[in-house]
Each structure stands twice: as structure tokens, then as C-alpha cells.
Subunit: 213 residues, 4 copies
DNA sequence: AATGAATGAGCCTTCATTCAT
DNA sequence: GATGAATGAAGGCTCATTCAT
């Protein structure tokens, strides 16, 4: 019916893209297989044929998105000083979060899963979240200095990530509160970087003066 | 069957409490009326009897929670200097977010709504979120100084709120990544306060030196 | 739509009767809930409301049929000599098997379950089959005499039950092979009784002569 | 994927064998084409390719099984006296029923069809069942004598066949009721033969005495 | 001759909602 | 005021079948 003419050898991929969109828009439960198949131009039984289950499709969507994201993220900012690497990282993070990346629904999906975990995130945590946190931990350690205790470092990472994620999670709120303002990823990233660098530098200063004094 | 004997004039309230819990745990769609009525010890038709709709019940739950929260939140920290008022505010915010407050599900519900808005938040935004943001804006303005432009001030508010909210949204992630660590609201609030104050003070310093220099 | 007018307080029972018929006619898998509800004049969701599951309904049908059968079967043939009790038993058994009893589908259902056990028969075996076999064992023992070994007695019970069940299981075959003949339960029961008594009496004679000789 | 290399001209036969097993295990409706093709190592479209239908495959399975059985069954017991021919026949029948024959699923399939006729048995009845019944009728006539009326003879055949079939149909029941006992085809056949011969001989005696007296 | 991707019908189940009591 | 039996719509899933290759 739909999709007449060619044979579309990549129904599976179209299903993944459609499922990503639908799940991002409506959530896992509200996103129906019918809608997914409709958008993919496929039969209603296509999901069950290519993936086994709605749930398996959901898991596969995450794997697919992660894979696509990994293809895009290149070695940004190799060989820069720590502060500039932090700046680059935040810029990329905020950019991706505000929908500049390719699979626009990836971030939304992750935010959803974080708000209402469905149990299929254990792998996601290890593959996506932990590497990021460890990368940031090293960066923050370099900037804040070796004297800052580990727990402090970690909370600084949380502070940075929290500032970035805020623009993802609170987007509808911000749109409602300040409807006129445009979200400029560059400006946001610049602010977060400055805000955080100020705090980290001050932390190093305080730590050093308290130790060396 | 349940609730024999008395007339239970407070069925309505028990339904609200039960609905709050259920919606917080399972979300709007996954939270079934049957479960809500079961927990409230009420008949399955009670929801449609007392409230008109599942949706109306949902809206009423928000109104109810806001009302309860308003009863609790008193005028904390009146008459302190700005930095201490910020400290007090963050402490209260983080405390409430980490489940120290009474209706434990209130914060969860809001976080859910933010992640997946169902359209009944317009009122919520105006009644709950905007006052908080405006209060914080004034605080940040006081600390950062009058020279900082408005957009900057606003983003600082976002940075503060983002740091706090992170511990709500990312709770399951953090529990998975760092299972051994305990979340201490006091320590967290202290860190966020210091981190933010460092940044704000530095901002004032930079702004003043660039203007007065 | 159906069932207008009264309120039909016994939808549950009508569902049980309808389910009994449908499962007997079509089997568990082929018997659809839709057909059951249609015959019961109930909504398609009625099965799920009154019973939880199709499977639970199926189990309940067996319980219900057993209960109805127990109400009917009275203490037939108390105080008769063994041979006449056997005659009475076979007559009742064949009569029930050939559909003279009330829930005509009960026997069919059991035959079906025996041909393709669905796992919910463990209870059935203990409650229905074992008592019958033990009753018959005692009867056969009385007739064949104490000298016949236990295994032999048991196989005689199987011979009797087998002859009776044949008219249930092979009904369609017989109807196809001998379409003109009518199945007369009385004549059948009389034949089985004579056939079996002849064999049992001969067994006693042989046993006694071989022992006492 | 499966079955690479060769051309597998015997796919059709493998499908028949697999279908026989699957239909015997699960029944017609529950036995899926997918399972059949999987076991036969064939493509999922193979059934619809080699046979037209699932139903046609089912019919073909019966024809195939009958053909195999016919190849095996030779002219047992030619030239014996009637009683010994009956003994031989019962022994062969019970042996086949208890799974000693080659296509183990053949008997199960027939038992299934008898319990739940699917309409494709008309041929089966004529080709398999009627010859057996006629053979037995002649045997019983010889043993019971010419004076016994035809209806009586026929019911004796039913008694014999019923005793044998019982061990097929009631197998799971017996396994549940008497789990320790082993089914010995030889002993069973011997019992059925003796039980029946006793009854038939007595019948001849009674008939003769009542007629000639 | 044979494949496997794709189809569409149909089933079981869930769930919010209504209605007579 | 409150109950609970009953409803109907909709979703996920299975499965036999078809079609282009």
C-alpha cells in the first residue's frame, strides 16, 4: 500500500529511525507500533518480523542510536590544554543536546530513560555515560589540581553535566517561561564553560593556598 | 468490600494521595486507575465519580501537591545576606529534591512532567516555577552585581537550578554508576553553593574590573 | 446490544456454559473468546472481567463441570451385589459418556484433555479419575476373587474403562463407518457388562481351579 | 543458510517427517509451519511451495504415514487358528500403539484426529479403520460362532479395539496415576487377549446352549 | 527450484469509562 | 454518596501466506 514501486531493502533501518522518533515523541508506552510502521511505510507486522518485540525494538533503537553517535563523534580537541578541551567538550555536549546532532531523538530518548528507567539502560550506562563521566573527571582533575579530593571532583563533574542537561530537560519549561528567547547553543556552552572554569580555578586557588599556607 | 462500615468522606483525599504515588512511580499512562483505587481502598468507579476523568484527576493531583507544598514552605531565610539566602535556598531545594519533603512523589511528578509534558503544566509553570526563577534571579543579581546583563543572570540561574535538578533526574544513573556512594543532601547543597558562589563572585570581579578599568 | 432488557446477573455462569461448549467443540486453542462471549450474550471483555484469562476460564470450566457432575451423581446402586453394582456403574458411565448427562460437553472436554494434556489435569486426575478407578478396582476384586494378583485386577479395570471410553473417542469414526446404526446406551452398557462379567467370572474360575487343584 | 551446498531433492520428505512429529506433538493448530520448516532445515516458504497449504500438508502427512505403515505390516499370522490370529493381531496392535512401530507419531496423529476430527479422515477411515474392523469382525465371528447376531459381533470388536486403544489414549493419565508401573506391551496384549477370549468363548457357549437346548 | 522479506487477518488482553442499583 | 458489573476501543503479537528475486 505505502511504499509502492521500489522494494526498499532497508525496511529495518527505516523502522529504527521511525521508532526513534516515535519513542522520543511519545515515550515507550505511548508510542504505538502502528505509528512506527506507518511512518516507516511498513506493514504493521514489520516490527515483529524484523525485531521480535516492541521491547526488543526499543533496545535496538538505543543500540542503533549509540552506533550512529559513535560514528559522528570524532576525536574532538586532541592536543589542547585542559581548559580548551573542557570548552570543546561542553560545546559538543550542548550542541548535541539541543538537537544539532544527527539523530535528533537520541538525546530525548536518553533523557526519557533517565526519567523513567525501563531496565534496559545498564548497557547504556556503561557504554555511554560512564566514559563521559570518566573523561570529564580527568579534565576536571587537571584543572582543579591534584589536591582536590575525589568526591569533590566528582561533584564538579555533576555540576557541569547538570548545567548542560538542564537545557535538555527543562526545554519545554524554558519555552513556556521565556517564549521570546532563542536558545543559542554557542552562547549557552560559553556560559557554562566560563561559569565552571571560574569555580574550578577558584577551587584550585583555595586548595593550594590552604595546603601551602 | 473494602472500607465497609464508615462512610469515608475522605475517599477523595485518599485517591489524591494514591494517585500521586502511582503516577510518580509509573507515569501517567502506565499508572492505572485500578491501581490507584486499590491503594486508596476505593471502588474502581471512584475516580470517575469524584473526579471526572483520569486526566482531571491528574491535574487535580498537581494542584493538591502544590497546595500541600505551599503549606510547608515557610519564609525561610528572611533577613540574611544574599549569599546566605542562596545557600539556604539551595539547601532547601536539594533537600526537597532528594526526598526529604513530605509528599515524596511531588518532585518526581514534576520531573516526569518536565521530561514528558502532558500539556497541563502551563498553570504549574506560572505558579511554581516562575516564582522560584524570579526569586533566584534577584538573588543572583545581588551577588553578581548590577553590571551583569540580564541574559547572563538568567543563565546563572539555570546553572544553579541545573546543578540541583541533576541529582533528581540522574538519580538512577548515579545509583548504577556509583552504587556504593550515599547521597548526602547537605554535602551536595554545600558543594553547589560554593561552586556557584565562586563563579558568581568571579563574574562580579571581572565585570567590575572591565567596567571600571 | 445482545441481552437487552434484564440485567442478567449470571453472566459468569452463562460464560462457563458457553465456554464448555466451545472448548468441547473446537478445543482450547481453536475456541475463541469471541465465540464464547457471543454465545453467552456477553461483551468480548467479559471473560477477562469475570475470569482473568482464557486459561483461567478453561480451568474454571473444568471445576464447574466437575461440580455439576458431582451434584448429579448420587449414590447409585448402594446395597446391591457386586455384579449389579458393576452393571449400574457401567450403565451410568456409558450414559454420561454418550451425552445423556447434563453438561454434555464435560466428557468431550476430558477426552480432549487426555488426548492433548494442557497441564491443568493433575487436579482432575486426582479428583475424578482416581476415585473412579479405585471404585472399580474394588468391584473387580470382589467379582474376580482375592486370588487374582493386583496387576491383573488393574488391567481388568482398564479393559472395562477402555470399552466404555471407546464409544466416546471413536464416536465420529463409528458414525462414519456405520452411519445407519443408532447408539443405544442401554444396549451398549449391557454388552460391556456381559462381556466383562464373562471374562471376570472365567478368571475367578481359572484362578480357583489352579490354586485349589 | 541451512542446507547449503546440495540441492536437497528430499526436502519434501523431510518436511513430511517433521510435520508428522510436530502435528503429533502440538496438534494441527498449535503446530506451526515455522517449527516444521525449522526441524526440516527448510525455508519458511517451503511448505507452501511443496504442498499448497498447511491443510494439504496435513492431509499428505496422513497419506505418507499410511504408506509407510503399509510397507511394514506384512501378512502376520497367516495359517493360524482364529484364536491365535486374534492373539497375533492384538499383540501387533498394542505394540504399534505403544510406540514400537517406526513412525512413532502415526498413532498419536490418528488418536488426535479421532479426538478432534478435522474432516480429512473420511479417506483414512476407509483405508485404515474399516479393513481392520472387518478383519476383526471375521475373527470374532469365527470364535464366537455363527449364532451370535451381527450387532453383538460388532460390539465385541469394539470391546477389543477399545481395550487396546485405551492404552494409547489414557497413556498420560496412567502415567500420572501409576507413575511407577512400566507399560509392557506383551503383558498388556496377553491380558486383552485372554480377557476377550474368555468373553467370546462364554458367548459361544451361552448362544449354543440357548439355541440347541 | 528455492528463498526470505513482507503482508494482513485475527486473537488475547488491558483499560478507562458508564450505568443500573 | 457509592458500588461493581459490564462495555468497547485499541494495542501487541502470532501466523499462514504471498511475491519478487
Amino acid at each position: 500500500m505505502q511504499n509502492t514501486g521500489k522494494r526498499s531493502p532497508a525496511t529495518r533501518q527505516r523502522l529504527l529511525e521511525a521508532a526513534g522518533e516515535v519513542f522520543a515523541e511519545r515515550g515507550y508506552r505511548d508510542g504505538t507500533i502502528q505509528e512506527i510502521c506507518r511512518r516507516a511505510g511498513a506493514n504493521i507486522a514489520a516490527v515483529n518480523y524484523h525485531f521480535r518485540d516492541k521491547q526488543s525494538l526499543y533496545a535496538e533503537v538505543f543500540r542503533y542510536a549509540h552506533q550512529r553517535a559513535a560514528q559522528q563523534e570524532s576525536g574532538i580537541a586532541a592536543g589542547l590544554v585542559a581548559e580548551d578541551r573542557l570548552r570543546a567538550y561542553i560545546r559538543a555536549f550542548v550542541g548535541r543536546i539541543l538537537g544539532e546532532g544527527r539523530p535528533a531523538w537520541h538525546g530525548i530518548l536518553i533523557a526519557r530513560e533517565i526519567a523513567q528507567p525501563s531496565g534496559m539502560l545498564d548497557r547504556l550506562y556503561e557504554e555511554e555515560v560512564r566514559p563521559r563521566h570518566e573523561y570529564l573527571e580527568n579534565l576536571v582533575r587537571e584543572i582543579a589540581g591534584p589536591a582536590v579530593p575525589r568526591g569533590r571532583i566528582r561533584m564538579c563533574v555533576f555540576s557541569i553535566v547538570g548545567q548542560c542537561m538542564f537545557y535538555r530537560n527543562a526545554r519545554p519549561v524554558l519555552a513556556a517561561l521565556y517564549p521570546k528567547e532563542r536558545m543559542d547553543p554557542g552562547r549557552i556552552a560559553e556560559h557554562i564553560t566560563e561559569f565552571s572554569l571560574d569555580a574550578l580555578r577558584e577551587m584550585r586557588r583555595a586548595e593550594e593556598s590552604s595546603n601551602h599556607g
